[in-house]
Symmetry: C2
Subunit: 107 residues, 2 copies
DNA sequence: TTCGTTCATCGTCGATATGCGATAGGGTGG
DNA sequence: CCACCCTATCGCATATCGACGATGAACGAA
């Protein structure tokens, strides 16, 4: 991709919804494989939750493997690293004196 | 606010656009005060850039102080810290062994 | 005061996102 | 094979976003 901002914007867009953030928290707190339990935990319609999962999967933030009759969703930890580095570059050095990840890669 | 996910989603939404990411990069690379130069650098209409600046300011990501005939925009580095911590919690420990910012504050 | 510069706001349009019910697909069990 | 559970997809309605031109408001300079 010629413009990295587009990819970063896609990542940010995937996080730009409370329901999707809730799903990510749920995946973070659940070690194993969860499927329809997400629907009950989120409180939205099954089709709506499925759409949010599709968006997260399209952004690469999560992975969905079919495991028998259900789908196993899990976090893809590396996907958010570029966005994390971008935010880290905007964060002042005073808050990250312990870890400066080469600021020259951002511009 | 009862639900912190809403605030995080607002922050992420502020970053969910290439033009706004470009503006943030520009502010990061420009030490002093910039105003209309942003319009030329972004390549969009002045009203469109003003709208993006309004969104960023509403999210608290930037500050805009009126300095004479122009407005001085600057980064507000602390605004993105909650989102950065959230992403850090989703990022695997292997990628941040140098700086673990107390993961228990996220849930 | 009058002009020019700079930025914010308004109205509008098309595009996109969000939510739901209904429906189809696919695998497991009986 | 058939029925059941889980998931994905399809339409559709509403809401929000993104972009622009035009207009308005504030300030400094002449």
């Amino acid at each position: 991709m010629r413009n990295p901002d587009i990819d970063l914007a896609e990542l940010a867009k995937a996080l730009a919804h409370p329901a999707r953030l809730r799903i990510l928290r749920l995946l973070l707190a659940t070690p194993g494989c969860i499927g329809g339990d997400i629907v009950d935990a989120i409180g939205l319609a099954q089709s709506t939750v499925s759409e949010h999962l599709r968006i997260l999967k399209a952004a690469g933030v999560i992975t969905g493997e079919i495991s028998g009759p259900r789908t196993c969703y899990a976090l893809n930890p590396t996907a958010l690293e570029p966005l994390g580095e971008f935010i880290g570059a905007l964060t002042p050095p005073s808050a990250r004196t312990c870890c400066v990840p080469d600021q020259k890669e951002i511009p």
